[in-house]
Symmetry: C2
Subunit: 417 residues, 2 copies
């Protein structure tokens, strides 16, 4: 049949014949279906059968957040499916298992994650996930390294890049909403009332606008590896022990630093939102320290795992062993890695800064800040996050990892307090 | 019919029914056919009819230079055809007109250029082409700018990038022969006897091997624009007045700096070969000055034309006018351009250095040096070019345009003389 959106009423009739579902959750006669999509783009159903639960995710031909005035191609489900399979192969166990994919219906049937919750909601509540940075550092390193020319042949890399290049409609969203709209009066922008005195000087900052466009230049033209493309706290599901990476429908070839910087930005946004979630000043200081610890750790784990892969799996077309180890120059390979990691870091900080800005000035905001009950506190928190993002993006070439927690803490204590 | 290589005897029978040919050169009964391919990869025929001449170029399923032991896909003719049409649109008049393309036969029928000669042969003879740098600077700027995200939408850019990504077999040649083989004892390498004392220290230079791989990293992963991909002095045909850019079968999305650096490298290789083409020491000093003048001028014209296009045609998705000119900040756009040009320059110098090395140490050499009659002079000339390439590649981040002629002149006068 032609594409048609599922509903809770039609789902059992339309999917009840698929062994991929009935084998796992039992016959469709006993299914209960709930639509739970709270994201911006898609339908998401939890289907409960006699044997268990399963997730059915279906793309809509428009952006759910905005409505059918903003069409969006259904083939993003195709790219999500292909990204999920690559992530599953590159870092096994870190993404939900796919049971069924229907390209025509833009539909993916996958594992129901339980008792997982969306990381962002857990962060708003102040729950610590001690494995988060470790899991994410490893996931970032493995998914990005193993999708790059450090691991792959030129042919495999370019064929996969060509496949994902067709996901340009989703990239177009990032290109506008992340890199450009926040820095001028674009019509989809919105911001917290009262923040205006902090927005005008930000947009007047020429170095920042250039930095944001340099980051966009890297996003568009640095096709180093397959990136998740939307790796914020709403794209992670967590338990006390586990971390699962979901929703890679923005997947495309881009720079190593993109996912890294976006994830780090979301930790910083959570950090600056803490004043809205504590009963007494300092009541969330422990959680602040946890967030900054995760921020530092995710880069350390990422860089450490890249180092492991660099030595063990550098089988691609760049920095070939024939020129270093096989020529008796292992220190040369180590020196080259320093440069590669430095390049990733600088890119990541550019992306980190713009992600912080667009979540405050652009279309899509974050619950961490939106959930702050006191408008005055929220304006202050957002002003601080804007300033931190500005410094991170414009000073990215000289910033070090050790600078980040101190910078965040200083700004949190000083700006416009 | 299935693909079959043309021969002078079969060409008229096979192509005689094509109006694209007969309309231009007359009926096939009067054709005379000569195979003149002197390149590394293809068959090239000059077909002479009663009304004129025409070029028929056909790809072979292997690398002509090496033989059928090295297969190479015929679809490179497809990419050459598509690159020629894009170049014709982006800088009209600078590439030969295509009259007919047959994808199955990997065959392009195009304008016979007369009285043009291959630039490299003209350079060896010491002929000056005063328009060369101006033509090439404009061609580089227009072809690269108009093929990039500075000019195009994300969709058009990514669709075209995906098309050319399938040209990975040709990219693979560059990736091996340009960036890696020269820096270790690869089996396809060859060099002038007596050059050994200069090769060992070059290959021992860790910073150089890293610089070469960083250049390869940029070539593989910086898909900024459609590059010609093989823009050396053998890919240009010239008269006293005209310059024509041919043979873009290596076309792929790559960095702005690639074509720029490769062209500049070939001017420098010609410069260092001058001692082999003068009867008395200094006899070619005027030609040396001409080459260095062209070297400086091609960048100046390129940068100037990029500046014109930046202001007049920046209609793509990067450095959008909404963030600069339309926000009352034209100086911000100017400042952003400084960064973009700086990035292109640094990349170009990396490519320039490795191109100089691979033409001396790798598989494919240049006639400028090969034609030097005196082996001792040739070794010296090559040693100087190697050293210049080493400095250019490793010091690319701090080198300026003004440094280049002085650097070349100093090395030409001092190294191992």
């Amino acid at each position: 049949m032609d594409y048609a959106p599922l509903t809770p009423d039609t789902l059992a009739a339309r999917l009840g014949g698929l062994p991929a579902l009935t084998d796992r959750i039992g016959p469709s006669s006993g299914w209960q279906v709930a639509e739970v999509g709270d994201g911006n783009l898609n339908l998401v159903f939890i289907v409960t059968g006699s044997l268990g639960k399963i997730i059915v995710k279906q793309a809509l031909p428009y952006i759910r957040l905005v409505g059918d005035s903003w069409p969006l191609p259904l083939n993003r489900a195709f790219f999500e499916y292909h990204a999920l399979t690559r992530h599953a192969a590159r870092d096994p166990g870190r993404v939900p298992e796919v049971y069924h994919f229907d390209e025509g219906q833009a539909l993916i049937v996958m594992r129901y994650l339980s008792p997982h919750v969306i990381l962002r909601k857990s962060v708003v509540k102040g729950v610590q996930h001690p494995n988060l940075a470790r899991h994410m550092g490893v996931f970032l390193a493995r998914s990005l390294f193993r999708g790059s020319a450090l691991s792959l042949s030129g042919r495999v890399l370019r064929e996969d890049m060509a496949l994902f290049a067709a996901n340009h409609a989703l990239a177009d969203i990032s290109e506008n909403l992340v890199f450009s709209d926040p820095y001028f009066a674009a019509k989809l922008n919105r911001h917290t009332p009262g923040l205006e005195p902090f927005i005008a000087p930000l947009r007047a900052d020429r170095a920042l606008r250039i930095a944001a466009q340099e980051a966009k230049h890297a996003f568009v033209s640095k096709t180093e590896t397959l990136v998740h493309g939307d790796l914020h706290s709403g794209s992670l599901m967590v338990t006390a022990e586990d971390t699962q990476v979901i929703d890679p429908e923005f997947a495309i070839y881009g720079p190593f630093g993109f996912d890294v910087g976006m994830f780090m930005a979301n930790l910083l946004l959570a950090f600056f939102a803490q004043s809205g979630h504590e009963d007494t000043p300092g009541g969330r200081d422990g959680y602040r320290a946890y967030l900054l610890g995760q921020l530092t750790q995710v880069w350390q784990v990422f860089a450490g795992e890249i180092r492991v892969l660099w030595q063990a799996e550098r089988t691609g077309i760049l920095y070939e062993r024939s020129l270093f180890e096989d020529a008796g120059d292992k220190p040369g390979a180590d020196a080259a890695l320093v440069g590669v990691l430095r390049g990733i870091w600088v890119d990541a900080m550019g992306f980190c800064g713009v992600e912080m800005h667009r979540r405050i000035l652009g279309l899509a905001h974050v619950e961490d800040l939106e959930a702050m009950a006191d408008p005055a506190r929220r304006v202050l928190a957002e002003a601080r996050a804007l300033e931190a993002g500005r410094i991170i993006a414009t000073r990215r070439a000289s910033l070090s990892l050790a600078d980040l927690p101190a910078l965040a803490t200083d700004i949190d204590r000083s700006v416009a307090r």
